[in-house]
Assembly symmetry: C2
Homo-oligomer: 190 residues x 2
């Protein structure tokens, strides 16, 4: 998505450790008009996939999920990062290792919100090593539902999560795919 | 908002300790069509307030903030619940006590995303004792910006946060105001 690449070049900031900060429009402050354009693009990319529900993880995936789900006319569910007393009854859960924060955390989704008939699109703001997505896939498999694809706003291809998923046969459509950002120079995949 | 009251009565579940679970449409699974209707209502309620930006707190306020900000044609910012290495530079911060989880946590917002010229509407899914909102107001005051109002989807009036804010002169417009839910019976404010 050319408009997203342009916005990353204009507003993104690259920091040591391959960190890309896009808090001006994507995951701290959110440009809602542009967000909905990204939702349109995800809806277009998966219009023939029979998606019944979008799943994301709190917190920074939620805005993307709102936009994509609204544009597709379906609900979304966000996995919560630990069990709170605000989640009722039985949940599906999976453990995720965060390289960003060097911690492990558990994500949970109430069993009532994923059924075996669901065809699920996973949406997030970033796709890097794919650990978060794999945790969601684990939960979707527990529910007996089908993963029909993965869509992130920004994929860091050099961390291989996206290509690993593609190699398992999953349709992965990231709106901007960064091949490298060595020395602060962002190179997008052609 | 009658449609929200109806949805709470149809789908909400009341648990001991005055807990209302609305995870089927508001804060775990999200009904995106209905979410945008709530966004329309917030935009209508604050159309004359000159709002330049919406502020909320991750995670469950984000969906409401997307809807309201999109319908008002403005960006939103979500406060993060602890300082991560994904937030650059200087931040405003405030400490919030959570009665739900009986913990304290710090919220942060990058200084670059609130300016003294901003007229800010605070949006959240729930307004109960008002601690979270007061933390955001603290940050907005630090930035020298103006709080023009507060809008929550669901206000638990018996926890007094909303009325305490109204008593300080702040415009508070909750889409559904629950006076009581004793014995599991939900009574809305007239």
């Amino acid at each position: 998505m050319k408009a997203l690449e342009d916005k990353i070049l204009a507003e993104g900031k690259v920091y040591e450790g391959n960190i890309l900060k896009v808090g001006s429009f994507l995951n701290h402050q959110v440009d809602t008009h542009f967000l909905m354009e990204m939702g349109d693009e995800i809806a277009r990319l998966f219009k023939d996939s029979g998606v019944t529900k979008i799943v994301t993880i709190e917190a920074s995936g939620i805005a993307m999920a709102v936009a994509a789900a609204y544009k597709m006319g379906i609900p979304f569910v966000f996995a919560k990062k630990h069990k709170t007393n605000n989640i009722s009854g039985e949940v599906y859960s999976s453990i995720i290792h965060s390289f960003t924060h060097d911690t492990e955390y558990t994500i949970v989704i109430s069993r009532e919100f994923i059924s075996k008939d669901d065809r699920i699109l996973i949406v997030d703001d970033f796709l890097a090593n794919g650990c978060a997505v794999n945790g969601i896939i684990d939960i979707i498999n527990q529910a007996g539902a089908k993963v029909v694809g993965v869509s992130a706003a920004i994929e860091k291809a050099f961390q291989n999560g996206g290509d690993n998923l593609r190699n398992t046969g999953i349709k992965v459509e990231s709106l901007a795919v960064i091949e490298s950002m060595d020395n602060g120079t962002i190179i997008f995949r052609k």
